[in-house]
Protein backbone atom coordinates (compact mmCIF):
# COMPACT_ATOMS: atom_id res chain seq x y z
CA UNK A 1 0.00 0.00 0.00
CA UNK A 2 1.20 3.48 -0.67
CA UNK A 3 1.63 5.50 2.48
CA UNK A 4 -0.81 8.27 3.14
CA UNK A 5 2.00 10.75 3.27
CA UNK A 6 5.71 10.69 2.66
CA UNK A 7 6.78 10.89 6.22
CA UNK A 8 4.35 8.56 8.02
CA UNK A 9 6.36 5.39 7.35
CA UNK A 10 9.39 7.00 8.92
CA UNK A 11 7.43 8.15 11.91
CA UNK A 12 6.24 4.60 12.36
CA UNK A 13 9.61 2.92 12.04
CA UNK A 14 11.46 5.81 13.57
CA UNK A 15 11.46 4.90 17.25
CA UNK A 16 12.30 1.26 16.59
CA UNK A 17 15.14 2.15 14.29
CA UNK A 18 16.40 4.80 16.67
CA UNK A 19 16.52 2.44 19.64
CA UNK A 20 18.02 -0.27 17.57
CA UNK A 21 20.70 1.98 16.15
CA UNK A 22 21.61 3.23 19.58
CA UNK A 23 21.55 -0.15 21.25
CA UNK A 24 22.93 -2.40 18.54
CA UNK A 25 24.10 -0.40 15.55
CA UNK A 26 26.40 2.11 17.19
CA UNK A 27 27.87 -0.33 19.69
CA UNK A 28 28.51 -2.75 16.86
CA UNK A 29 30.46 -0.13 14.97
CA UNK A 30 32.10 0.96 18.19
CA UNK A 31 33.19 -2.58 18.96
CA UNK A 32 34.67 -2.91 15.51
CA UNK A 33 36.54 0.35 16.01
CA UNK A 34 37.77 -0.70 19.45
CA UNK A 35 39.09 -3.97 18.13
CA UNK A 36 41.93 -2.13 16.43
CA UNK A 37 42.96 -0.39 19.62
CA UNK A 38 44.48 -1.07 22.99
CA UNK A 39 42.49 0.41 25.84
CA UNK A 40 41.90 -0.34 29.50
CA UNK A 41 38.72 1.68 29.70
CA UNK A 42 40.34 4.55 31.53
CA UNK A 43 43.74 5.19 30.04
CA UNK A 44 44.60 6.62 26.65
CA UNK A 45 43.50 4.56 23.72
CA UNK A 46 46.24 3.59 21.30
CA UNK A 47 45.80 2.30 17.81
CA UNK A 48 47.50 -1.02 17.26
CA UNK A 49 46.11 -2.23 13.99
CA UNK A 50 45.61 -5.94 13.68
CA UNK A 51 47.60 -6.94 16.78
CA UNK A 52 44.51 -7.97 18.71
CA UNK A 53 43.39 -10.24 15.91
CA UNK A 54 46.79 -11.83 15.62
CA UNK A 55 46.78 -12.45 19.33
CA UNK A 56 43.30 -13.92 19.22
CA UNK A 57 44.23 -16.37 16.52
CA UNK A 58 47.03 -17.69 18.70
CA UNK A 59 44.98 -17.72 21.89
CA UNK A 60 44.38 -21.33 22.84
CA UNK A 61 41.65 -20.52 25.29
CA UNK A 62 39.81 -18.49 22.67
CA UNK A 63 40.02 -21.29 20.15
CA UNK A 64 38.95 -23.71 22.83
CA UNK A 65 35.96 -21.50 23.55
CA UNK A 66 34.78 -22.00 20.00
CA UNK A 67 35.09 -25.74 20.36
CA UNK A 68 33.16 -25.65 23.61
CA UNK A 69 30.49 -23.44 22.08
CA UNK A 70 30.03 -25.76 19.12
CA UNK A 71 29.89 -28.79 21.37
CA UNK A 72 27.33 -26.99 23.45
CA UNK A 73 25.30 -26.16 20.35
CA UNK A 74 25.35 -29.78 19.27
CA UNK A 75 24.33 -30.92 22.74
CA UNK A 76 21.50 -28.43 23.03
CA UNK A 77 20.19 -29.21 19.58
CA UNK A 78 19.66 -32.71 20.82
CA UNK A 79 18.69 -31.98 24.40
CA UNK A 80 16.44 -29.04 23.66
CA UNK A 81 15.11 -29.22 20.15
CA UNK A 82 15.04 -32.95 19.58
CA UNK A 83 13.85 -33.76 23.08
CA UNK A 84 11.33 -30.93 22.85
CA UNK A 85 10.06 -32.36 19.61
CA UNK A 86 9.77 -35.80 21.13
CA UNK A 87 7.98 -34.43 24.16
CA UNK A 88 5.58 -32.57 21.89
CA UNK A 89 4.88 -35.82 20.13
CA UNK A 90 4.24 -37.54 23.43
CA UNK A 91 1.88 -34.94 24.79
CA UNK A 92 -0.07 -34.60 21.59
CA UNK A 93 -1.21 -38.15 21.29
CA UNK A 94 -4.92 -37.95 20.90
CA UNK A 95 -7.05 -39.12 23.72
CA UNK A 96 -4.54 -38.60 26.50
CA UNK A 97 -5.03 -35.86 29.00
CA UNK A 98 -1.69 -34.15 28.95
CA UNK A 99 -2.37 -30.64 30.15
CA UNK A 100 -0.66 -31.22 33.47
CA UNK A 101 2.49 -32.54 31.82
CA UNK A 102 2.66 -29.63 29.45
CA UNK A 103 2.56 -27.24 32.34
CA UNK A 104 5.26 -29.11 34.20
CA UNK A 105 7.66 -29.30 31.34
CA UNK A 106 7.38 -25.60 30.75
CA UNK A 107 7.94 -24.41 34.30
CA UNK A 108 11.75 -24.27 34.13
CA UNK A 109 11.51 -21.89 31.17
CA UNK A 110 9.95 -19.25 33.38
CA UNK A 111 12.67 -19.21 35.98
CA UNK A 112 15.71 -16.95 36.03
CA UNK A 113 18.74 -18.85 34.89
CA UNK A 114 20.59 -17.94 38.05
CA UNK A 115 18.10 -19.82 40.21
CA UNK A 116 18.57 -22.83 38.02
CA UNK A 117 22.34 -22.52 38.05
CA UNK A 118 22.56 -22.36 41.83
CA UNK A 119 20.09 -25.21 42.25
CA UNK A 120 21.88 -27.51 39.83
CA UNK A 121 25.26 -26.65 41.35
CA UNK A 122 23.93 -28.39 44.42
CA UNK A 123 22.52 -31.28 42.50
CA UNK A 124 25.89 -31.83 40.90
CA UNK A 125 27.91 -31.21 44.05
CA UNK A 126 30.64 -33.69 44.69
CA UNK A 127 30.00 -34.39 48.35
CA UNK A 128 26.43 -34.20 49.45
CA UNK A 129 25.01 -33.42 46.06
CA UNK A 130 21.74 -35.02 45.07
CA UNK A 131 23.09 -37.11 42.22
CA UNK A 132 26.12 -38.50 43.97
CA UNK A 133 24.27 -39.24 47.17
CA UNK A 134 21.55 -40.97 45.19
CA UNK A 135 24.13 -43.07 43.38
CA UNK A 136 25.74 -43.88 46.70
CA UNK A 137 22.42 -44.89 48.17
CA UNK A 138 21.74 -47.37 45.40
CA UNK A 139 25.24 -48.75 45.68
CA UNK A 140 26.65 -47.34 42.47
CA UNK A 141 29.55 -45.31 43.86
CA UNK A 142 31.48 -46.17 40.77
CA UNK A 143 29.25 -43.87 38.79
CA UNK A 144 29.86 -40.95 41.07
CA UNK A 145 31.71 -38.11 39.45
CA UNK A 146 32.82 -34.65 40.24
CA UNK A 147 30.37 -33.53 37.63
CA UNK A 148 31.38 -29.92 37.47
CA UNK A 149 35.02 -30.38 38.35
CA UNK A 150 35.93 -33.02 35.84
CA UNK A 151 36.62 -31.59 32.39
CA UNK A 152 35.24 -34.67 30.73
CA UNK A 153 31.83 -34.24 32.31
CA UNK A 154 31.57 -30.54 33.04
CA UNK A 155 30.41 -29.31 29.66
CA UNK A 156 27.90 -32.13 29.32
CA UNK A 157 26.63 -31.48 32.83
CA UNK A 158 25.93 -27.85 32.03
CA UNK A 159 24.33 -28.81 28.71
CA UNK A 160 21.96 -31.18 30.49
CA UNK A 161 20.80 -28.31 32.68
CA UNK A 162 20.21 -26.24 29.59
CA UNK A 163 18.15 -29.07 28.16
CA UNK A 164 16.17 -29.38 31.38
CA UNK A 165 15.24 -25.74 31.06
CA UNK A 166 14.50 -25.36 27.38
CA UNK A 167 13.13 -28.69 26.25
CA UNK A 168 9.77 -27.50 27.51
CA UNK A 169 10.05 -24.35 25.46
CA UNK A 170 10.58 -26.20 22.20
CA UNK A 171 7.93 -28.65 23.22
CA UNK A 172 5.44 -25.80 23.45
CA UNK A 173 6.34 -24.51 20.02
CA UNK A 174 6.20 -27.88 18.35
CA UNK A 175 3.04 -28.76 20.17
CA UNK A 176 1.34 -25.72 18.71
CA UNK A 177 2.48 -26.78 15.30
CA UNK A 178 1.19 -30.27 15.84
CA UNK A 179 -2.17 -28.94 16.95
CA UNK A 180 -2.51 -27.27 13.60
CA UNK A 181 -2.26 -30.45 11.67
CA UNK A 182 -5.74 -31.10 10.34
CA UNK A 183 -7.44 -33.82 12.29
CA UNK A 184 -8.97 -35.40 9.26
CA UNK A 185 -5.52 -36.14 7.91
CA UNK A 186 -4.60 -38.07 11.01
CA UNK A 187 -7.94 -39.80 11.19
CA UNK A 188 -7.73 -40.93 7.59
CA UNK A 189 -4.28 -42.33 8.19
CA UNK A 190 -5.47 -44.17 11.25
CA UNK A 191 -8.32 -45.66 9.31
CA UNK A 192 -5.75 -46.89 6.87
CA UNK A 193 -4.07 -48.75 9.69
CA UNK A 194 -1.27 -46.37 10.66
CA UNK A 195 0.16 -46.76 14.17
CA UNK A 196 1.05 -43.86 16.46
CA UNK A 197 4.65 -44.18 15.39
CA UNK A 198 3.71 -44.04 11.73
CA UNK A 199 1.58 -40.99 12.36
CA UNK A 200 4.47 -39.34 14.11
CA UNK A 201 7.23 -40.07 11.65
CA UNK A 202 5.32 -40.04 8.44
CA UNK A 203 2.94 -37.17 8.91
CA UNK A 204 3.83 -34.99 11.85
CA UNK A 205 7.56 -34.77 11.35
CA UNK A 206 7.51 -33.75 7.69
CA UNK A 207 4.77 -31.20 8.22
CA UNK A 208 6.74 -29.50 10.95
CA UNK A 209 9.81 -28.98 8.86
CA UNK A 210 9.45 -25.23 8.60
CA UNK A 211 8.99 -24.89 12.31
CA UNK A 212 12.00 -27.10 12.93
CA UNK A 213 14.17 -24.86 10.85
CA UNK A 214 13.19 -21.86 12.94
CA UNK A 215 13.72 -23.82 16.13
CA UNK A 216 17.20 -24.79 15.03
CA UNK A 217 18.05 -21.19 14.27
CA UNK A 218 16.75 -20.04 17.64
CA UNK A 219 18.72 -22.73 19.42
CA UNK A 220 21.97 -21.98 17.64
CA UNK A 221 21.81 -18.21 18.09
CA UNK A 222 20.72 -18.71 21.68
CA UNK A 223 23.67 -20.98 22.34
CA UNK A 224 26.12 -18.38 21.11
CA UNK A 225 24.65 -15.79 23.41
CA UNK A 226 24.45 -18.00 26.50
CA UNK A 227 26.10 -16.67 29.62
CA UNK A 228 24.14 -16.91 32.87
CA UNK A 229 24.28 -20.65 33.31
CA UNK A 230 27.97 -21.00 32.62
CA UNK A 231 28.98 -17.97 34.64
CA UNK A 232 27.21 -19.08 37.79
CA UNK A 233 27.90 -22.80 37.58
CA UNK A 234 31.50 -22.98 36.49
CA UNK A 235 32.66 -19.62 35.18
CA UNK A 236 34.64 -21.37 32.50
CA UNK A 237 36.31 -23.94 34.70
CA UNK A 238 37.74 -26.45 35.29
CA UNK A 239 40.81 -25.47 33.35
CA UNK A 240 38.71 -23.78 30.68
CA UNK A 241 36.71 -26.92 30.00
CA UNK A 242 33.51 -24.91 30.03
CA UNK A 243 34.98 -21.65 28.86
CA UNK A 244 32.62 -20.31 26.24
CA UNK A 245 32.98 -17.17 24.22
CA UNK A 246 30.92 -14.98 26.49
CA UNK A 247 32.58 -15.95 29.76
CA UNK A 248 36.01 -15.46 28.25
CA UNK A 249 35.23 -12.09 26.72
CA UNK A 250 33.70 -10.90 29.98
CA UNK A 251 36.87 -11.94 31.83
CA UNK A 252 39.15 -10.22 29.34
CA UNK A 253 37.17 -6.99 29.30
CA UNK A 254 35.89 -6.67 32.83
CA UNK A 255 38.53 -8.48 34.85
CA UNK A 256 41.70 -7.86 32.87
CA UNK A 257 40.63 -4.53 31.39
CA UNK A 258 41.69 -5.33 27.86
CA UNK A 259 38.83 -3.70 26.05
CA UNK A 260 40.47 -3.73 22.63
CA UNK A 261 41.33 -7.40 22.80
CA UNK A 262 37.84 -8.28 23.96
CA UNK A 263 36.39 -6.22 21.14
CA UNK A 264 38.50 -8.07 18.61
CA UNK A 265 37.25 -11.38 19.95
CA UNK A 266 33.68 -10.10 19.66
CA UNK A 267 34.25 -9.03 16.07
CA UNK A 268 35.59 -12.41 15.07
CA UNK A 269 32.62 -14.04 16.75
CA UNK A 270 30.22 -11.75 14.93
CA UNK A 271 31.78 -12.73 11.64
CA UNK A 272 31.39 -16.38 12.50
CA UNK A 273 27.74 -15.92 13.43
CA UNK A 274 27.03 -14.00 10.24
CA UNK A 275 28.62 -16.74 8.18
CA UNK A 276 26.53 -19.34 9.95
CA UNK A 277 23.46 -17.22 9.30
CA UNK A 278 24.26 -17.05 5.62
CA UNK A 279 24.81 -20.77 5.43
CA UNK A 280 21.49 -21.29 7.13
CA UNK A 281 19.74 -19.07 4.64
CA UNK A 282 21.30 -20.97 1.78
CA UNK A 283 20.31 -24.31 3.20
CA UNK A 284 16.73 -23.44 3.81
CA UNK A 285 14.57 -24.26 0.86
CA UNK A 286 12.30 -21.39 0.11
CA UNK A 287 15.11 -19.09 1.07
CA UNK A 288 15.46 -16.11 3.36
CA UNK A 289 14.46 -15.44 6.91
CA UNK A 290 10.96 -14.83 5.71
CA UNK A 291 12.06 -11.31 5.10
CA UNK A 292 10.12 -10.11 2.14
CA UNK A 293 10.90 -7.01 0.23
Amino acid sequence: MRPSSRWTPYVLVGPAVAFFTFVVGLPLLGTIALSFASWTGTNRMTFIGLDNFVRASGDEVYRGAYLNTFLYIAATLVLEVAVGFALAGLVSVRGRRTGWYRITFFIPVMLPMVVIAVLWSFIYADDGGLINSFLGAIGREDLQHVWLGDPSTALMAVSVVSGWVYAGFYMAIFYAGLQRIPQHLLEAAELDGASERDLFFKIKVPLLRGMTEVAVLLCVTGAFATFDLFYVMTNGGPDHATEILTTYIVKIVFRDHEVGYGAAMSVIMTAVVVVIGMIYVRLRRGGGLDVEY
Binding site: R2, P3, L34, I107, G128, F134, T270, L289
Partner: protein, 260 residues
Protein backbone atom coordinates in the same frame (compact mmCIF):
# COMPACT_ATOMS: atom_id res chain seq x y z
CA UNK B 1 5.76 -39.73 30.86
CA UNK B 2 5.35 -39.57 34.59
CA UNK B 3 9.00 -40.29 35.15
CA UNK B 4 9.95 -37.54 32.74
CA UNK B 5 7.75 -35.02 34.42
CA UNK B 6 9.17 -36.08 37.77
CA UNK B 7 12.61 -35.27 36.46
CA UNK B 8 11.38 -31.78 35.82
CA UNK B 9 9.61 -31.25 39.09
CA UNK B 10 11.76 -33.02 41.64
CA UNK B 11 14.69 -30.58 41.66
CA UNK B 12 12.38 -27.67 42.35
CA UNK B 13 10.46 -29.42 45.09
CA UNK B 14 13.76 -30.47 46.66
CA UNK B 15 14.93 -26.89 46.63
CA UNK B 16 11.88 -25.67 48.50
CA UNK B 17 12.03 -28.50 50.99
CA UNK B 18 15.68 -27.89 51.70
CA UNK B 19 15.05 -24.38 52.82
CA UNK B 20 13.24 -25.82 55.79
CA UNK B 21 16.10 -28.05 56.87
CA UNK B 22 19.10 -27.20 58.92
CA UNK B 23 22.58 -26.85 57.57
CA UNK B 24 23.73 -30.22 58.90
CA UNK B 25 20.71 -32.02 57.57
CA UNK B 26 21.25 -30.72 54.08
CA UNK B 27 24.74 -32.12 54.10
CA UNK B 28 24.22 -35.41 55.76
CA UNK B 29 21.00 -36.51 54.17
CA UNK B 30 20.15 -34.45 51.12
CA UNK B 31 17.17 -36.57 50.19
CA UNK B 32 15.43 -36.57 53.52
CA UNK B 33 12.35 -34.50 54.23
CA UNK B 34 12.52 -31.63 56.65
CA UNK B 35 11.52 -32.32 60.21
CA UNK B 36 9.44 -29.21 60.47
CA UNK B 37 8.19 -26.56 58.15
CA UNK B 38 8.89 -23.10 59.47
CA UNK B 39 7.80 -20.51 56.97
CA UNK B 40 9.60 -17.72 58.77
CA UNK B 41 12.86 -18.67 57.07
CA UNK B 42 11.34 -17.38 53.86
CA UNK B 43 10.49 -14.07 55.47
CA UNK B 44 14.01 -13.77 56.86
CA UNK B 45 15.52 -14.40 53.48
CA UNK B 46 13.29 -11.76 51.94
CA UNK B 47 14.26 -9.12 54.45
CA UNK B 48 17.95 -9.89 54.67
CA UNK B 49 18.26 -9.97 50.95
CA UNK B 50 16.38 -6.77 50.42
CA UNK B 51 14.35 -8.49 47.77
CA UNK B 52 11.68 -5.87 47.91
CA UNK B 53 14.02 -3.46 46.11
CA UNK B 54 15.02 -5.98 43.52
CA UNK B 55 11.46 -6.98 42.74
CA UNK B 56 10.47 -3.34 42.44
CA UNK B 57 13.30 -2.66 40.02
CA UNK B 58 12.52 -5.71 37.95
CA UNK B 59 8.89 -4.65 37.70
CA UNK B 60 9.76 -1.13 36.58
CA UNK B 61 12.36 -2.20 34.06
CA UNK B 62 10.26 -4.98 32.60
CA UNK B 63 7.08 -2.95 32.38
CA UNK B 64 8.61 0.08 30.71
CA UNK B 65 10.71 -2.01 28.35
CA UNK B 66 7.91 -4.34 27.31
CA UNK B 67 5.37 -1.57 26.75
CA UNK B 68 7.86 0.28 24.60
CA UNK B 69 8.72 -2.86 22.67
CA UNK B 70 5.08 -3.55 21.98
CA UNK B 71 4.29 -0.04 20.86
CA UNK B 72 7.37 0.69 18.75
CA UNK B 73 7.48 -2.84 17.44
CA UNK B 74 3.89 -2.69 16.27
CA UNK B 75 4.44 0.65 14.61
CA UNK B 76 7.47 -0.55 12.73
CA UNK B 77 5.89 -3.89 11.83
CA UNK B 78 2.90 -2.16 10.32
CA UNK B 79 5.00 0.15 8.21
CA UNK B 80 7.30 -2.63 7.07
CA UNK B 81 4.48 -4.99 6.34
CA UNK B 82 1.94 -2.81 4.67
CA UNK B 83 3.50 0.36 3.38
CA UNK B 84 5.71 0.76 0.40
CA UNK B 85 8.50 3.20 0.92
CA UNK B 86 12.12 3.69 0.22
CA UNK B 87 14.52 2.17 2.73
CA UNK B 88 11.92 -0.43 3.59
CA UNK B 89 14.21 -3.22 2.49
CA UNK B 90 17.14 -1.70 4.27
CA UNK B 91 15.27 -1.39 7.54
CA UNK B 92 14.07 -4.95 7.30
CA UNK B 93 17.57 -6.28 6.97
CA UNK B 94 18.85 -3.88 9.59
CA UNK B 95 16.35 -5.03 12.17
CA UNK B 96 16.78 -8.67 11.21
CA UNK B 97 20.44 -8.32 12.09
CA UNK B 98 19.36 -8.10 15.69
CA UNK B 99 17.87 -11.56 15.49
CA UNK B 100 21.14 -13.02 14.42
CA UNK B 101 23.72 -11.17 16.44
CA UNK B 102 24.37 -12.27 19.98
CA UNK B 103 24.79 -9.54 22.53
CA UNK B 104 28.51 -10.24 22.78
CA UNK B 105 28.98 -8.71 19.38
CA UNK B 106 28.46 -5.29 20.78
CA UNK B 107 28.16 -5.17 24.54
CA UNK B 108 31.77 -4.10 24.96
CA UNK B 109 31.19 -0.80 23.24
CA UNK B 110 27.64 -0.59 24.50
CA UNK B 111 28.81 -0.25 28.08
CA UNK B 112 31.23 2.52 27.09
CA UNK B 113 28.46 4.28 25.22
CA UNK B 114 26.13 4.16 28.21
CA UNK B 115 28.92 5.44 30.42
CA UNK B 116 29.66 8.24 28.00
CA UNK B 117 26.13 9.59 28.14
CA UNK B 118 26.05 9.12 31.88
CA UNK B 119 23.19 6.72 32.33
CA UNK B 120 25.27 3.80 33.57
CA UNK B 121 24.18 2.37 36.87
CA UNK B 122 20.60 3.57 36.49
CA UNK B 123 17.50 1.68 35.48
CA UNK B 124 17.72 3.39 32.09
CA UNK B 125 20.95 1.50 31.48
CA UNK B 126 18.84 -1.63 31.38
CA UNK B 127 15.59 -0.33 29.95
CA UNK B 128 17.11 1.13 26.81
CA UNK B 129 19.15 -1.94 25.85
CA UNK B 130 16.24 -4.24 26.63
CA UNK B 131 14.03 -2.23 24.28
CA UNK B 132 16.63 -2.25 21.55
CA UNK B 133 17.25 -5.94 21.92
CA UNK B 134 13.60 -6.90 22.09
CA UNK B 135 12.56 -4.92 19.05
CA UNK B 136 14.06 -7.27 16.49
CA UNK B 137 11.99 -10.23 17.55
CA UNK B 138 8.94 -8.04 18.08
CA UNK B 139 9.08 -6.58 14.60
CA UNK B 140 9.77 -9.96 13.04
CA UNK B 141 6.87 -11.69 14.75
CA UNK B 142 4.38 -8.86 14.35
CA UNK B 143 5.27 -8.32 10.73
CA UNK B 144 4.81 -12.02 10.05
CA UNK B 145 1.46 -11.83 11.71
CA UNK B 146 0.40 -8.76 9.75
CA UNK B 147 1.51 -10.35 6.52
CA UNK B 148 -1.06 -13.07 6.95
CA UNK B 149 -3.92 -10.63 7.17
CA UNK B 150 -5.89 -9.92 4.02
CA UNK B 151 -4.96 -6.71 2.27
CA UNK B 152 -8.57 -5.76 1.74
CA UNK B 153 -8.82 -4.85 5.39
CA UNK B 154 -6.33 -2.09 4.93
CA UNK B 155 -7.15 -1.08 1.44
CA UNK B 156 -10.79 -0.58 2.13
CA UNK B 157 -9.92 1.57 5.10
CA UNK B 158 -7.60 3.59 2.91
CA UNK B 159 -10.32 4.08 0.40
CA UNK B 160 -12.44 5.40 3.24
CA UNK B 161 -9.85 8.08 3.69
CA UNK B 162 -7.97 6.58 6.63
CA UNK B 163 -4.43 7.90 7.00
CA UNK B 164 -1.52 5.72 8.10
CA UNK B 165 -1.40 6.78 11.68
CA UNK B 166 -5.11 6.50 12.16
CA UNK B 167 -5.04 3.14 10.52
CA UNK B 168 -2.40 2.03 12.94
CA UNK B 169 -4.38 3.00 15.97
CA UNK B 170 -7.83 2.08 14.79
CA UNK B 171 -7.23 -1.05 12.77
CA UNK B 172 -3.80 -2.56 13.25
CA UNK B 173 -3.57 -2.51 17.02
CA UNK B 174 -6.85 -4.30 17.65
CA UNK B 175 -6.09 -6.86 14.95
CA UNK B 176 -2.69 -7.90 16.16
CA UNK B 177 -3.66 -8.57 19.74
CA UNK B 178 -2.68 -12.27 19.62
CA UNK B 179 0.66 -11.31 18.11
CA UNK B 180 1.12 -8.69 20.81
CA UNK B 181 0.45 -11.37 23.39
CA UNK B 182 3.23 -13.51 21.98
CA UNK B 183 5.69 -10.67 21.89
CA UNK B 184 4.68 -9.71 25.40
CA UNK B 185 5.39 -13.20 26.69
CA UNK B 186 8.81 -13.38 25.06
CA UNK B 187 9.79 -9.88 26.08
CA UNK B 188 8.63 -10.18 29.66
CA UNK B 189 10.50 -13.44 30.10
CA UNK B 190 13.74 -12.12 28.65
CA UNK B 191 13.67 -8.80 30.47
CA UNK B 192 12.68 -10.30 33.81
CA UNK B 193 15.36 -12.98 33.74
CA UNK B 194 18.12 -11.08 31.99
CA UNK B 195 21.43 -11.32 33.79
CA UNK B 196 24.49 -10.39 31.73
CA UNK B 197 23.73 -6.74 31.12
CA UNK B 198 22.15 -6.35 34.53
CA UNK B 199 25.35 -7.55 36.17
CA UNK B 200 27.65 -5.43 34.09
CA UNK B 201 25.71 -2.20 33.97
CA UNK B 202 24.26 -1.91 37.46
CA UNK B 203 26.50 -1.59 40.49
CA UNK B 204 24.41 0.19 43.07
CA UNK B 205 22.28 -2.07 45.19
CA UNK B 206 19.26 0.19 44.88
CA UNK B 207 18.98 -0.46 41.15
CA UNK B 208 19.64 -4.15 41.01
CA UNK B 209 17.11 -6.45 39.43
CA UNK B 210 16.10 -9.83 40.73
CA UNK B 211 18.68 -12.03 38.98
CA UNK B 212 21.56 -9.83 40.06
CA UNK B 213 20.25 -9.40 43.57
CA UNK B 214 19.84 -13.12 43.83
CA UNK B 215 23.41 -13.82 42.83
CA UNK B 216 24.69 -11.18 45.24
CA UNK B 217 22.64 -12.82 47.97
CA UNK B 218 23.92 -16.28 47.14
CA UNK B 219 27.44 -14.91 47.24
CA UNK B 220 27.06 -13.41 50.68
CA UNK B 221 25.16 -16.29 52.21
CA UNK B 222 26.91 -19.01 50.30
CA UNK B 223 27.48 -21.00 53.42
CA UNK B 224 24.04 -20.64 54.92
CA UNK B 225 22.32 -23.23 52.80
CA UNK B 226 18.84 -23.05 54.24
CA UNK B 227 18.85 -19.29 53.73
CA UNK B 228 20.15 -19.76 50.21
CA UNK B 229 17.43 -22.18 49.26
CA UNK B 230 14.85 -20.01 50.93
CA UNK B 231 15.86 -17.10 48.75
CA UNK B 232 15.67 -19.25 45.65
CA UNK B 233 12.30 -20.53 46.75
CA UNK B 234 10.74 -17.14 47.30
CA UNK B 235 11.68 -16.20 43.77
CA UNK B 236 10.56 -19.47 42.27
CA UNK B 237 7.26 -20.14 43.99
CA UNK B 238 5.43 -17.00 42.86
CA UNK B 239 6.69 -17.38 39.31
CA UNK B 240 5.54 -20.96 39.16
CA UNK B 241 2.26 -19.94 40.71
CA UNK B 242 1.68 -17.19 38.18
CA UNK B 243 2.53 -19.52 35.36
CA UNK B 244 0.24 -22.28 36.56
CA UNK B 245 -2.65 -19.87 36.85
CA UNK B 246 -2.06 -18.14 33.55
CA UNK B 247 -0.56 -21.01 31.64
CA UNK B 248 -3.16 -20.96 28.97
CA UNK B 249 -2.48 -17.35 28.12
CA UNK B 250 1.25 -17.85 28.23
CA UNK B 251 1.42 -20.84 25.96
CA UNK B 252 -1.24 -19.67 23.57
CA UNK B 253 0.49 -16.34 23.27
CA UNK B 254 3.68 -18.19 22.57
CA UNK B 255 2.25 -20.54 20.07
CA UNK B 256 -0.16 -18.28 18.25
CA UNK B 257 2.59 -16.03 17.14
CA UNK B 258 4.95 -18.78 16.12
CA UNK B 259 2.46 -20.07 13.62
CA UNK B 260 2.37 -18.44 10.31
Amino acid sequence: MTTISLAFIVPLVWMVMSSFKTQQQIFDSPWSLPTSIDLSVLATAWERGGFGTYVGNSIIVTTVAVCSILLFGAMAAFALSRLKFRLRGFFLVFLALGLLLPVQSYFVAQSSLLNAIGINDTLLALIIPYIGLGLSLAVYLLKAYLDTLPSELFESARVDGCGDLRMFVAIVLPLIRPGLATVAVFSILSAWNEFLLATLYIQSDEYKTIPVGLVAFTGRYATDYPMLFAALSIITIPMVGIYVIFHRQVTSGLTEGSLR
